[in-house]
């Protein structure tokens, strides 16, 4: 819009300039005509040594009327005024030397008024046919001319200002009207904040509809997450009560007796496990629908490089037999958590070899297998570990909460997980994923 306004101003300025120029040109042309008229009325004087202008051969009435505003003077070679029009009542300043044949057009100030002055020098033969030089000068009072120009200028500029004002008003109105949906959006957001509404309405124009639809999805997801966090807090508070109870039940000791550090450490460990488990559970996204597809093989790759760093001293040999890429719908953080824990266990408890492989399952399914050559786990322990999450008031030992977190996450994604004994001697974990 600013560009438009600037353009309009430039146009008006140009217009103004052009009009000014044209007016001056016209004025000069008019005065030229007058001088031609004067030349046509030139006659020899009685003596024949000079020329004069016969007034009766002049048709310009203004030259006859006193103080008409139009004046003419004829100068001889000695710069003496030898003829003056009857309109002259005052003295006019002399002119500078000009070249014969040249027209000199100037705008001057005289008697505190603006004047146009046109001068022309000629050679005219006298009675002896000797060329004498004469200068013809006309003065035209220019006040009226400039006043008119000013009036024109004023009209032009006020027209411009009015147009710009109107333009701005119209554009403002149009903008306000087109932004109406956004105003409505703003009002709805406030209403959602104030809990008067739970989502956006459906009657937005096509340009805005994708925004409101996505915002609605975002709101649903956030509410869902909020609920999960609330649940986690509840579970957390509940599970912490037991170890806290144990600690507060410790016998009061005199300052000189030592507190049973073992019990302290044990309960602190337990509380730590509970807190970690609940935090991990709550921060898991746990919804395949809301996740974009990720490459399982890439995730495995990242975890393997991390584990190879951490377990460098152990020199674990990894045998991988996976498809080049496996796309699944899962939050990347959750996927890293599941595979990270499972592979970490494999590395930790293996003797020296870990195997990862993938194979096609039923329609749209992919099986992922992780095996190690360690000593494996007895059945009942596996059972216990998988249920660790819900029974954290039991004394913790062995594996910790890693597998419990994994069990939680795979359950929420509907990924089937099974444990067996590997032919290599250790644990064999199999996961069944739905591929994209």
């Amino acid at each position: 819009m600013i560009v438009l306004i600037v353009f309009m101003i430039l146009t008006v300025v140009a217009l103004e300039r052009v009009v000014e120029q044209r007016a001056l040109v016209a004025e000069e042309a008019r005065l030229q005509l007058l001088i031609y008229g004067l030349l046509a009325a030139v006659d020899r004087n009685r003596a024949g040594m000079s020329i004069t202008i016969s007034a009766d051969r002049l048709f310009e009435n203004s030259l006859m009327t006193r103080d008409s505003g139009l004046y003419a003077i004829l100068y001889n070679a000695k710069r003496q005024g030898i003829w003056r029009s009857r309109s002259i009542t005052r003295v006019f300043p002399e002119i500078e030397q000009i070249t014969p044949g040249d027209w000199q057009f100037k705008i001057l100030e005289h008697d505190s008024k603006p004047y146009f002055r046109l001068a022309f020098a000629i050679h005219w033969p006298d009675v002896r046919d000797k060329l004498q030089r004469y200068d013809v000068v006309v003065w035209q009072e220019a006040s009226a001319h400039f006043e008119q120009l000013d009036r024109f200028r004023q009209t032009l500029w006020s027209w411009l200002v009015v147009t710009i004002a109107l333009l701005l008003i119209v554009m403002y109105l149009v903008t306000m009207w087109s932004l109406r949906p956004l105003t409505k959006l703003g009002l709805e957001i406030k209403a959602i904040e104030d809990r008067k509404q739970t989502g956006f309405e459906n009657n937005y124009p096509i340009e805005i509809a994708p925004l409101t639809e996505n915002l609605n999805i975002l709101l649903t997801r956030e509410r869902y997450q909020q609920q999960r966090y609330r649940n986690a807090m509840d579970d957390l508070a509940h599970s912490l009560k037991t170890p806290l109870a144990v600690l507060s039940g410790l016998p009061k000791v005199k300052k000189t007796d030592r507190v049973d550090l073992d019990i302290l450490r044990e309960q602190i460990d337990r509380m730590n496990q509970i807190v970690t488990y609940q935090l991990k559970k709550a921060s898991s996204v746990a919804d395949a629908k809301m996740s974009k597809p990720i490459d399982l093989v890439q995730v495995v790759g990242r975890i393997l490089s991390a584990l190879e760093k951490v377990y460098r001293e152990k020199s674990v040999r990894v045998e991988a037999d996976m498809a080049p890429a496996i796309m699944i719908r899962m939050d990347e953080s959750d996927c890293l958590e599941v595979l990270g824990n499972l592979l970490d266990n494999a590395f930790k408890y293996c003797r020296g070899r870990v195997f990862i492989g993938s194979s096609d399952g039923a329609e749209g399914q992919m099986h992922l297998t992780i095996e190690d050559d360690g000593s494996g786990l007895p059945e009942h322990e596996i059972e216990q570990i998988l249920n660790r999450g819900t029974r954290l008031d039991q004394v913790s030992e062995g594996q910790g909460i890693g597998l419990a977190v994994v069990a939680d996450i795979v359950k929420s994604y509907n990924i089937a997980m099974s444990f067996k004994r590997s032919v290599a001697g250790g644990l064999r974990v199999q996961l069944v994923f739905q591929t994209v």
Binding site: I268, N272, T276, L279, K280, S283, R302, I303, S305, A306, K309, V310, R312, E313, K314, S315, E332, S333, L336, E337, L339, G340, N341, R351, G352
Partner: protein, 231 residues
């Protein structure tokens, strides 16, 4: 050995530093990423313990910058963020190991020792340059099967020299890696320790385990015995 601890929780920082000093480390501490980076760039050290959630410059940024500058310093990350995503990101950025808070200090020390040994090319907790051997976990020294009675500082000097067996270590480097800031650093004291070490290691003067190179420093002359990978 010298360690740098970058941790903004002052209680934990103090605990870690105290434990490291107990184990014979000289330690510098910082409580924000900018100061930590400065310490890492200006002071030589053998291991860095870095928290991720730091003010001013984050732990990951500090690690990135150090690695980009070409440092191979062993780095242990200490953090409350326990998700595997955070572990992988930390290790990708250049850390060598990752410990989740709260942790047992024994575990932390064990991991730090592994990292230091790894950096010197030792994969075992025993450093053996026959007939001298060092058990870095128990901090005991043996010549053949005979145990030596070394003071804490004598052990520190010997451990450093043996970790870098075959390399020339100047007195300045030795002082920087073994002394805390507050202690008086007098390089003549090092000479005294070296002399005492020689007396204890090599009473008959047949072994000559520590060589003095005038104007350059000291070198542990006995060859490393390569450890077979533990299986």
């Amino acid at each position: 050995m010298r360690a740098i601890v970058i941790e903004d929780d002052l209680d934990i920082q103090k605990q870690v530093i105290d434990r490291l000093k107990q184990e014979g480390f000289a330690v510098d501490g910082a409580d924000n990423g900018d100061e930590g980076l400065y310490l890492l760039q200006e002071y030589p050290c053998d291991v860095a313990i870095i928290d991720l959630g730091l003010p001013k410059l984050s732990g990951l940024d500090v690690i990135n910058k150090i690695r980009k500058a070409g440092s191979n310093l062993p780095i242990l990350i200490l953090t409350a963020r326990g998700r595997w995503q955070d572990k992988v990101e930390g290790l990708d950025a250049g850390a060598d190991d990752y410990l989740v808070k709260p942790f047992h200090h024994e575990e932390m020390m064990a991991r730090i020792r592994v990292l230091i040994r790894r950096a010197s090319g030792w994969s075992d907790s025993r450093i053996v340059c026959s007939p001298v051997s060092l058990d870095t976990t128990t901090q005991r020294t043996y010549v053949d099967e005979r145990e030596l009675d070394l003071t804490a500082f004598e052990y520190k000097v010997l451990e450093y020299l043996m970790m870098h067996a075959g390399e020339v270590i100047s007195k300045t480097v030795l002082t920087e890696h073994l002394y805390d800031d507050e202690d008086d650093r007098d390089s003549n004291v090092i000479e005294v320790f070296i002399r005492r070490l020689r007396q204890k290691l090599d009473p008959d003067e047949g072994l000559q385990p520590i060589e003095t190179l005038r104007g350059r420093g000291y070198r542990f002359t006995l060859d490393r015995v390569k450890q077979a990978d533990t299986d």
